[in-house]
Amino acid sequence: MQKIPLMLATAGMVLARDVFRNDSPTGMPICGKETVLTDALIARLDHLDVQSIYVDGHPLNQDGERKLEDLLRDLDHRFEKVRQDPLTSKLYDIYADYLKRSMGE
């Protein structure tokens, strides 16, 4: 199960929890769990000002959830042709540093 912003919901995702109206989380659910999302349904939820939903599985791979080592490995791959280049390797160092800082290290 993953909590995702409604904006990132796509048709085909399956609700893992009931969805309630934003202003009355204890009232009747708008939409029950196990419902398969459709574009029309997402539009309706958006119209009702629902901000986020819980869906089955782990469909979104957000950067915040990826491990620093994975991000650094991807960075190495992207820079593999220019690591010896004096100017571009500066950019590599800046990005490596940025990733470490943004991952809280």
Binding site: M7, L8, D39, I42, D74, L75, H77, R78, F79, E80, K81, V82, D85, L87, T88, K90, L91, Y92, I94, Y95, D97, Y98, S102
Partner: protein, 292 residues
């Protein structure tokens, strides 16, 4: 069986290149060129024509206006809620609106078939605008537009030579080459040159066509080297970030000429990276919204 002495591959290369150029220079085979553009071109030559008059012509085509406004409201420009064409013309300039009008049908195709390239292009538009502002350069909007359009040659190659595009992409994957190297191998030209042909056939001004044609070789730019350098650096930054998908995943080398021309230094580069990473989140959201 007679043995042919000519090398068919060589001929194929020549044919391909001239055929490609012919196709691209022939505006009739391009995705629908809006009729209002011709009117706009004639009017733009007339120094007395007012922005209002030009806006009226564009506004007469509702579909086109909607597309232009959508692009004008994209994060590449950083203005939000540009609600009328005449506002867009005042805020972005007539040149920018004209090039957006020209590109809108191509963007339409890009958005549907190649979200990765669309995101890369939007990212480079945003980055180019950001660099231009940071360096206090004139005509930031034109630079943003050049960034947005810089890889438009790739869309044309994909549209007009989809077989060649497949071969190019398979070379990129299997031989781990830069896209531009693979393009040279397969079509004897590259997306920058193709984009330049397109810009010429659309009569885009040099300040847009040069960054498009020379973003991989800044020193070839004659009249707008600074704008070209900005687009080059913006492209490198977006590739470094890993944002979008422009065909290959390899960061191209920063050209010394561009670095010197913009008087970049380590500190400035670090600031640009920080700022860009923030802005790219916005681009991602915009892109998701557009597809939703």
């Amino acid at each position: 069986m007679p043995i042919t002495l000519s090398v068919p591959w060589e001929n194929e290369l020549d044919d391909k290149r001239s055929e490609l150029k012919k196709i691209i220079m022939d505006t009739r085979t391009l995705p629908t060129l809006p009729g209002v553009i011709n009117k706009l071109n004639t009017l733009a030559e007339d120094a007395r024509a007012s922005v209002q008059e030009m806006a009226k012509i564009v506004s007469s085509d509702q579909v086109l206006s909607a597309r232009i406004l959508r692009l004008a409201n994209s994060p590449s420009y950083g203005f939000y809620r540009v609600s009328t064409i005449s506002n867009a013309m005042i805020l972005l300039g007539v040149n920018v609106v004209k090039s957006l009008a020209l590109s809108s049908s191509i963007f339409e195709i890009m958005e549907k078939n190649s979200v990765g390239l669309w995101e890369h292009s939007m990212g480079v538009g945003v980055a180019a605008n950001m660099i231009a502002r940071k360096l206090a350069l004139p005509e930031c909007e034109e630079i943003a537009t050049a960034g947005l359009l810089h890889d438009i040659g790739k869309v044309i190659i994909s549209l007009k030579c989809s077989d060649a595009e497949k071969r190019i992409l398979s070379i990129v994957r299997n031989q781990e080459k830069y896209m531009i190297e693979a393009e040279l191998e397969v079509i004897d030209t590259d997306h920058a040159e193709v984009g330049g042909w397109l810009a010429k056939s659309w009569f885009l001004p040099d300040k847009l066509s040069e960054p498009i044609a020379f973003h991989h070789d800044v020193t070839r730019s004659v009249n707008h080297r600074i704008k070209t350098a900005v687009v080059h650096i913006a492209d490198v930054l977006v590739k470094a970030s890993g944002f979008g998908d422009s065909g290959d995943s390899y960061v191209p080398p920063i050209q010394k000429a561009a670095w010197d021309m913009l008087k970049l230094n380590d500190e400035l580069l670090a600031d640009l990276v920080d700022e860009l990473e923030d802005k790219l989140v916005e681009v991602r959201n915009f892109s998701i919204e557009m597809q939703g």
